[in-house]
């Protein structure tokens, strides 16, 4: 186990040094204001990721824990290592990248011990993800409904007819206005926001416990982005989904998350409960992100809230 960056805020889920056999102790309770003591569904402990070809470390130690119904946000620019961290969690690191230190536990299982078959069973059913460009994850020549139904048939073993029924239910769950119509449409007939909803429907088709949203709203219009964020918040409340929200925009993460990690050049420069990070930033880079909003964003015209109001 590796020690953590001294820059990271104390009082957060920095449990890298704790024995792996007893997760879900004090540190988790401390970070969540509700004080839940549920076992973490996802525990990332001191994860470092290296490029084996150039032999360089790209991610220098990331740790966080996620309990059901909670949300962790990762903020950073492109190249900060946030996407690699997500991919490591999903076991889909690009070729010649590997987790060189630390461990990742999904629902109590260390992913290093998983066989490819176990991975297949885990993905979708326990951990799932949506990414930035929804259109590229769907087949343009197959109706979107059929693609959702296929996932359901494979993952849940349902019959064709039941799968179709369930797919329409899912499209309804992601608040598409006319689920029956969307079921029979092709990707080119849907807008970016609708496609992202369809992809979220696919992601939650097998009732996962964890959903990773990696820049899932970046390419969308502001009003559509808000719709998707609202949808994620609702899924979290209704289904007890644990979310990992990754974005380059601190404000997007601030909307949803209980805990925030600020990453820069592979390093977690700041980590802590959202209100702490927003109101008492310690690292210069976090201050820059906040200052950008204060000077140039809408915040210029909005009265600053006191820390109590956000929590």
């Amino acid at each position: 186990m590796t020690t953590l960056s001294a820059k990271a805020a104390p009082g957060t889920a920095l449990c890298a040094a704790e024995p792996a056999t007893e997760p879900a102790t004090g540190s988790v309770g401390e970070l969540s204001t509700a004080g839940t003591t549920a076992a973490p569904v996802l525990a990332v402990r001191g994860v470092r990721i290296s490029d084996q070809v150039t032999d360089r470390e790209i991610v220098h130690g990331v740790s966080f824990e996620l309990t059901p119904g909670k949300t962790v946000g990762i903020v950073g620019e492109s190249g900060s290592g946030k996407t690699l961290t997500c991919r490591a969690t999903l076991g889909i690191l690009p070729p010649h990248f590997e987790v060189s230190a630390g461990s990742i536990e999904i629902a109590g299982t260390d992913i290093a011990t998983l066989t490819p078959q176990q991975w297949t069973a885990l993905r979708g059913a326990t951990i799932s993800a949506v990414f930035q460009d929804p259109a590229s994850y769907l087949n343009p020549s197959i109706r979107v409904g059929a693609q959702i139904a296929e996932v359901i048939r494979v993952k849940k073993g349902l019959k064709r007819r039941e799968a179709r029924h369930r797919a329409v239910e899912l499209l309804q769950a992601v608040q598409l206005r006319d689920p029956e119509l969307v079921y029979g449409q092709y990707t080119h007939e849907l807008s970016g926001g609708m496609l992202q909803r369809v992809l979220i429907a696919v992601a939650i088709a097998a009732d996962p416990q964890i959903l990773i949203a990696d820049e899932a709203t970046t390419a969308l219009d502001v009003t559509v982005q808000a719709e998707i964020l609202d949808l994620l918040a609702e899924l979290r409340e209704q289904a007890g989904l644990a979310l990992v929200v990754v974005s380059h925009d601190l404000a997007v993460v601030a909307q949803l998350c209980d805990e925030v990690l600020v990453m820069r050049e592979g390093e977690v420069v700041e980590q802590g409960p959202t209100s702490d990070v927003l109101h008492r930033p310690r690292h210069e880079y976090t201050r820059l992100l906040i200052a950008e909003h204060d000077q140039y964003g809408l915040e210029k015209f909005l009265t600053p809230l006191t820390p109590q109001e956000t929590s």
Partner: protein
């Protein structure tokens, strides 16, 4: 010109340029160097190589070496003419088709389609019947027939840049169409055209020779490389090695042209810029210690 310098920085580019220069020299000086009258027949037919006939004689007793040298001018100039003709009637309308309005675009597009659809021989015979037989007419015909390739290549390359933001930026700054073509479009269109041009020079040889074979263009007693190859092939059983000399000359020229085309393609466009950058980077690294990038944003 940076493009020439870039091409010459490649080994393959240098080889191609050297060979093509030699062949150009041959075309200019060839007829003057011929040791004997290339049209003079003798009784010494189908002779083997000897001191007086370096490459032997053909079926009419003419000196093959002299005929090869004499024919080089018309062969090389012929294929060059084809290429230039295609360039003028193909590439230029191709670029202009994007700028000169819809009528011109429609007309040239249909014309290009028509030329592709025309049977080559029928068209050649028709033009010869109209304009009379001769090398110029033959080149005109072949040039016109190859031009749709140039038209399409030039048009595609122009279309790719015509709507790009930097062209619009120039437009907003008050640039005329001429300025935009000279400063932005030409550079982008040149590499693909150069590739097409180099290929056409190769194809030109084959077309000139096949036309000669049919009695179109260069008339039979006058020698060309293609014509020599064709007539030598007829006497393969008497002189199996005879077609070798014209064939090797044609082959080397076509190969050098293609080599040049490849070199141009390698140093132009995105690939070319990457190529220059890596070279620059390598030069920098040799000069000073390698600054290790820390990655990140």
């Amino acid at each position: 010109m940076t493009m020439v310098r870039r091409v010459l920085s490649l080994t393959s580019g240098r080889i191609a340029v050297v060979i093509l220069t030699l062949i150009a020299l041959l075309a200019v000086l060839g007829p003057l160097l011929a040791p004997q009258n290339p049209l003079a027949t003798s009784d010494n037919t189908l002779a083997a190589a000897s001191g007086s006939h370096w490459l032997g004689t053909d079926y009419l007793g003419r000196d093959t070496f002299s005929r090869l040298l004499d024919g080089s001018r018309v062969s090389v100039l012929g294929s060059l003419e084809v290429a230039v003709m295609a360039l003028v009637v193909g590439a230029i309308p191709g670029i202009l088709s994007v700028y000169l309005g819809r009528t011109f675009e429609w007309l040239t597009l249909r014309l290009a389609d028509t030329l592709v659809a025309l049977p080559f021989l029928l068209f050649a015979v028709a033009v010869i019947a109209l304009l009379g037989n001769g090398i110029t007419q033959a080149m005109l015909v072949t040039g016109a027939l190859v031009s749709p390739l140039f038209y399409r290549v030039a048009r595609a390359a122009t279309l790719a840049v015509a709507r790009s933001p930097y062209v619009e930026a120039a437009l907003v700054a008050g640039a005329s169409t001429g300025w935009i073509v000279r400063r932005h479009v030409w550079v982008k269109v040149l590499p693909p055209i150069a590739v097409a041009l180099a290929q056409t020079i190769g194809v030109g040889f084959i077309i000139v020779s096949s036309l000669t074979f049919l009695g179109i263009g260069v008339q039979p007693p006058a020698p060309t490389w293609g014509g020599l190859l064709a007539s030598d092939l007829g006497y393969l059983s008497y002189q199996p090695w005879a077609p070798l000399a014209p064939a090797v000359l044609i082959m080397i020229t076509v190969w050098a042209s293609n080599l040049l085309a490849d070199a141009i393609r390698d140093v132009s466009g995105e690939a070319g810029r990457a190529f220059v950058n890596t070279r620059k980077a390598r030069a920098n690294r040799l000069g000073k210690p390698d600054p290790v990038s820390t990655g990140g944003a």
